[in-house]
Every structure is written in C-alpha cells, then in structure tokens.
Amino acid sequence: MKILPPVSIEGRSLLPGKWDLLAAVLVLGFLILFADVSRDLVQPLASVSTSTLSLDPANLPGFAARTALRMLIAMGVSLAFTFAYATWAAKNPRARLLLVPLLDILQSVPILGFLSITVVWFLSLSPGRVFGAELACVFAIFTSQAWNMAFSFYQSLRTVPEDLTEAGRTFGLSAWARFWRIEAPFATPSLIWNMMVSMSGGWFFVTLSEAISVGNTTIALPGIGSYIAVAIAQQDVGAIFWAIGAMLVVILIYDQLLFRPLVSWADRFRVGEEQRDDPPQSWVLTMLRRSRLIDWLTAPFEAMMRWSYRFTPPSFGVRAAFRDSDSRVSGAVWYGILALLGAFALWRIWGFAAANFSWRELLHATGLGFLTMLRVVVLILLASAIWTPIGIYVGLRPKLTRIVQPVAQFFAAFPANIVFPLAVSLIIFWDLNPDIFLSPLMVLGTQWYILFNVIGGASNIPRELMDVGDNFSVKGWLWWKRIALPAVFPHYLTGAIAASGGTWNASIVAEVANWGNHTLRAHGLGAYIADATQSGDFKRVVLGIAVMAFFVVVVNRLFWQPLYWYAERKFRMTA
C-alpha cells in the first residue's frame, strides 16, 4: 500500500477550476476571520508559565502518557471527521464539487503557522484555560491528521467495486447498512495505512503545540513537547536525550498496541487479492481474538448496529442526491449558501486586505517564499541522491529490507523537531552559517519517506525482471539507467511528494531555532511566519500562510502532478 499523494496530484486537470478558487477563497476568508477574532483575544490572557515544569526524567512517563493520550483523542476526532466529510463528498455529487478542492487547499495550508491563531482562539473559548489549551493542542494534531485520512476514505468510497455495491442493493440493504457492511470495510485497509502516516505527522505537531508562545501568551501543557521546550530554554542536552528516549518508547508502544493489531485485523478487508504469503501478524490481536472478553464487549455494539440496519434514514446515501423532485430546490439552497459563504469570505478578505495589505509586504513574503523553495528543492534533490541508491541496494536484498524498512518507517514517524536542539547547539558551538546549516533540519524528518518508498519499490520489482538484467549481463550504469531507477521511479515519486510537502511545513520550525537565549534565524518564508507568530502579528501570519499555501499548491500542480501521471503511465509495473 502506498501513501496517497495530495489531492491536487491525484486530480487530472492542471488548471484550477472555479471550485478550486472558491475553496481557496473560503479557506483564506476563514483564516482571516480566525485571525481577526484572535487578535482581540491575545491581550487579556495571562501566561501559563513554562517555569513550573521540572526536567526530572521521572516526570517523563507521565508526560509521555499525556502526549500519547492527546494523540489518541485527536485520532478519534480525525476519524469522526473522516467518516462525515469523506462520506458526504463521496455520496453527494453537488457537495463533492467543493469538498474535494477544499481538502486540497487545507492539505496545503502550513498548519504549523496557523497554530498560534487557533491556540488563542481555543483559549478564549473555554473558561478553564488548561482545557482550552488542551483543545487547541488536539485541534492542531487533528489538522495535521485529518486531511489525508479523509481523502483516502473518499477515494476508497468512490472506488468500491461495482459488484459489491450491486450485491448490497440486491439484498435490499439500506444505504446505512451498505455503508457499514460494504463501503467502510472496503475502505478500511487504506484508511488504516493513512492513519499511520497521519500519526507520524501528528507526533511532530503534538510536541510543537504543547508548548507555544503567541505574543505575550505562553502555554506549556504537561507533555513531552513542553519538556523539550523547557530543556531548550535551559540548554539541557541530557534532558533532550531523555525526551528522545521517551518518544521512542511511546511510538513503539503505539505501534505494538494500536497499529500492528489494526493492520493485521484489516488484512481481511482487502478485496480481490490473493491471500498473502506472510499475512501481517500481531501478538496483541491474536491475544484479543483468543480471549472472549472482546466478544462480550463488542457484542452489544454489534447488536445495536444490526438493529440500526433495519432503518433507512431518508437523507442518507446516493438516492437522496439523485432524487429529482426536490433537487432543484435543494440545489438552489445549496448554491445560495455557498454564494453567501463565498461573499462573506470575500468581504473578510477585502476588509483585511484594505486595512493591512501592502504590495511591499507581499513581495517580501514571496521573495522569502522563493528562498524557502530553493531550500526545499536542494534538500529533496540531496535526499534523493543519497537515499535512492541506498534504498535500491537495500530493497533488492530481502534480509536487509526486513531490518532497514521498519527502521526507516520508524524514523519517518519520529518527530524530528525533538532532535533539532542537538543540531542547533552544534551550529552555535561551531558558529556555522544558519542560512545553510539550519536547512538540513527541514528534511530531517521527511527524507525517510523517500527511503522507505524506494525500498518498497525495489523489493517489489518482479524477480523475472531482475533475472533479465542478469541473463543479458546488464551491469553498471546501464543497469541503473535502464532497470533499477525506472523500476523504482513511481515509488520514489510518491515518497518525494510526501517529503516535499512535509519539508515546506517543517521550514516554519526549522528556519528559526532557539537554544537557551541564542536564536538562529535563516532567511525564508518559514522564518517569516515563525517570527510573525512569536510577535503576535497576525496579519503577517495570515499573509505568510497564504503565500506558502500558494507555493505548495502551485508546485503540486505544475511540477508534481504532471510528473506523477507521467510516472504512473510509463513506469508502473502492471503491464
């Protein structure tokens, strides 16, 4: 199973349509709305200081548990969102027109930059501040997880094999029953895979959003992220290592207790494929299956679901969307609402722009955007040059693959920002140029996508093809040029697209770095957003985010998308 590329790459049309524009306007409008509301809220909030946090490693298990719990809650919220949003988009052709482009824009918004705004907003919502901060943190993780899960689920729903759907209809299953008995199970393996990918991204965000300061508001929720923030402030290298260790343990536990069982369980939902030689195994799942406890626990739930299948909610499902009688009325209402929303968003944008916009600032941000893009390009090229040959070498050796592949996936899941302080302290120690040496941090966490995708690709090259190479003594550069590189290209590309997207996002935390009271600053759009956040300057935050989202979308549309389809057509091994 592969990682899904972003929406704009899966789509086939190059030029943005009117729906893309509407989606962009809506997102930008609400960004501004958020920012405007938040600006007024920053002042009265007193700080929740970081000084209360102790760096005693004995606290770490507790912190780790809190962090892991936040992840779990956010995952639950993301799942709920996925089911609602993706199903709506898949079942309702009218809604789909907007919802899919909207996902694309949301996927491209560097939510890291938006963190500050949401934090303040959520803080203001709740009377007890800690609860508000918790909400903000969960929301931040949610925004890093939900989009690709929703997109994967949407795609699965749209590709449910016709015969399954028809079988469901023949047996008179209601749309509700069809959804739970056919469509959701069909979508499960891919959804779980994307949950794992989301989780990888989520660790990054949870550690960042636990400790955040906006203007003069500082929040430090107990958790690994805050622990690291304090360690940075106190320049405590030992504590950083403790945090890294704790993070490793948490990720391992998640893998063993949650994802292994899920992947192993979901194996049964793969449709139309041969039984695998080595079906994924999980000791936890085996244990659960052997015990009767789970049966008892799930039995009432199952009974409830079976009971619910007998009813047909009238507004659920495709039939509702195609019903002719009320389609004109509901169409008018729907488009009316959209028009209103769009107008409202435009009005906010207009108001915001009239008050704050300056060409100089936009040019400045765009210029910085090009600087960051240069970094991203160079870094992805470097990472590709290093990891592609290594990935091919590893992937062609099954024994080595079994060792390296999980490690690479693990590194991809590991929040790279945790090791930033170590690198930063070295840069300060040797007095290196931050414009150059901060850059590699951007790709630190994302390069692994390239490695494990290339390994996956190389290990899936049919043996007969490798035999051909051997049989005709194809060696050296000819072998790389004609056989190895083309064979892994589509896989490499999937990895590179994921890595590139992640690298843009990481620029916001990597282009500005602190160590104690030293601050390193590289020139780039990431640093621009980070600085604006730090000083609570919301208009620059919004501008920076908008410019970065624009860069990401344009790069996706103009570069990755054509390349992706070219590779899919020419290099995919389905001949």
């Binding site: 085996t286 049919p462 093809l465 005709f472």
Partner: protein, 429 residues
Amino acid sequence: MTDLLEVRNVRRSFPRSGGGELLVLDDVSLTLKEGEIVGMLGRSGSGKSTLLRLIAGLARPQGGTISYMGAPILGPAQGVAMVFQGFALFPWMTVLENVELGLEALGLPEKDIRARALAAIDLIGLDGYESAYPRELSGGMRQRVGFARAVVVHPNILLMDEPFSALDVLTAENLRTDLIELWGNKQLPTKGIILVTHNIEEAVLMCDRVLLFSSDPARVSAEIVIDLPQPRERTSPAFEDYVDRIYVEMTARRVERMRQVQAQGDSIALPLGHVPPNQIAGLIEALSAPPYDGKADLPDIAYEQELEVDELFPVAEAMQLLRLADVEGGDIKLTHMGKRFADAELNERKEIFSRALMSHLPLAAHIRKVLDERASHSAPRTRFLDELEDHMTEETADETLKCVVSWARFAELFSYDDDAELFSLENPT
C-alpha cells in the same frame, strides 16, 4: 555432434525459514546437443525452473557441475539467453528498446545494435510494433518480444521457461507453430533449445527428447525420445501414443510413492497439495457419467474437461488417496465408494467423505482424535504444525494443513477458526 551443455549430478537446496535445508534438485544430469530441442516436463514447482536458472547462471548449484561448451558456468554466461514465463518485459521501454537491451549490454556500436534489433524484430514477426510499449500489446505479442530479445544476442542456447503457459490456447499454438517453423528452417540464430513445460502435448509437439521430472526433490525420472518428423500432427496415432506413454510414466510414480507412504501405517507425514472438495466431486461426477461410466483414459478426460495436467493430477491423486478412485496405467477408475459418492445426496456425500478421511488420511483422523480427547475440544494450529514440521518443510506443512482443513470442513469432521488459529469441534450454531 558436440555437447552444448552438460549438467552433471547437480544438487540445489534452499535454506528454510525455520532452519535446515529444503532440497529442490537432487542429482540431476542432462545434456543438450547441437540442433536439439530438449523438454523438461514436470509438475509446477518441481524444480525445473530452478534448474533453468542454474543453467542460465542466475544461481549456483550446491553440488555437481554445469558446463557450457566445455567450460563451467560460474555466472550469467554469454550465449545463454532466456525466455520467461511472465514475459519479463520492461514496461518503460518500447519493443525496440526491450530488444536492444541485451545488445547494449554487450557494448556493441549503436549502428549494429539498431540493425540487429530490427532484424530480430522482423524475424519474430513484430514488424510495425517497434515503438509500442508492452502494455499496448496482447500476451502473444509480448511473448514475441520476449523471444526477439532472447534471439537478438544470437545465443548458442535458448532457455524457455514455460513460455506459452501464460497465453490463451489459440495464441500459444500460433506461437509454437511459428517457432517450430523458424527452428526447422534454421532461421533461429541459436544452436540448441531447452524448453521447460508442464504441458505434455506441448513437449511432444516441440521436443526431440523429453526429460520427465519427479518432484520433491526434482529428479530426472525418465527420458523419452520423440522420434517423429516435424511438423507433427496432434491427432496422429503415433503422437497420441507418446502422450499416453508420458501420462502413464508421470502418474505411476506418484501413485506408487503415495501407496508406499500410506502402507507405512498411520503415518501423518503425507504431504498434501490443496485440492478443493468441489473439484473432487466434479471429477467424480464427470467420471460416473457417460461416456466414461466410471473409467476413463487420463489424457481423454483432461481434454474433455479442459484440465491442464497440473490441474488434473492433483485431483486424481486426492481421489486415489481417499480411495474414491484408482489411478493405474494412465487410466482413472472409480472405486465402489467413488460410485456411491457420485449417486449420493449432499449429506450422504459428506458422510462418505468423512469416513474416507478417517480411514485413509491418518492426519485427519489424528486431529479428530486429539480434539475428541481434549476437554476443551479445541487445539491450536501450532500443535499440529509442529508435528508435521518434524517430517516436512514449513511450507509443505502449511499447505498440508490447509488441505486437511478444507476437506474436514466439507466433511464436517471438525472446524477451524483462522483468526484464532484454533481447531475445534464446534460449529457456529
């Protein structure tokens, strides 16, 4: 005539995941002379393909020698080219580029590469397809590219690994005829051909000599010289005689071996290949109906039922094993139980099958006994897997258990929960 290739006492085994070795080829010898097509005929998975890879130098034998024109083969040898079962074309290269690959590797000048590639494409009948990608071609055309790619390097030996088995019947026949014609007219720039196949008629149609391979581990069990002029007629009595002879050879050995193992008493160590009960029932029904009325010639029924040897033999053997039929001298004959099965209703069939399992398949009886004796009436899969692995490889044990589960389910002898990997006596009520 000179020997192009000489294989002497070759042995090859693979390390098993559970430790130990899995012997695939045992003491195999053969020669290929100039101007010969030699067939290697055996079941799928009988190690023929492994042998072919050894000859191509893609892998090394653990024992014995392989020499090509007098020199030992130590790696991929120039002058030995292979045609693959799954075509093995590079999807990102055009037909022309695929064909040119081998020449590029030889480091020839570009002009020669182009000229030779075009000549090969012309020879194999691919004219006009030079710039097509493999995905645009039908299976038959793809395999033609496979042939062109192999002959373009002017190999002394052409190795063909079931080259027609992925093609439909008509296309395969068309390609076979073309190939034989080119070979007969001495248009192929190659001196000898080794053809691996599991299709008996294909072997008789194309080869000068056929080596029969027995499996587990593969040995050459017989050599049959096909002394017929080309082109050969499938319908000629001489042709049919050869086919019959090979059928007899191939079944006799297996059945004999099975009898021996069964005769050893209540040994559970008989490796089984999974044959769905429906196939057994289907063949029994076909056999009991006219024109066979309980007895049939194997080649005939294979032809009538459109069964490949690979599909027919395992079913026939399963029936032999369960004493539902007797396989002898190229014939298959229903036993008394087999006839009763044919006439019975579903529930009675299940009963007959259940009794057959209990009395003729010690492993099934053993599992049932263990389940009966245990208070919980259940036992984990590993309980029996470990037992089987004392006698056979992990893969074979796995396959054997799968087969027993499938048969026992049909017979309602015991049940199995794949999630919990648990055998038990209870069925969902």
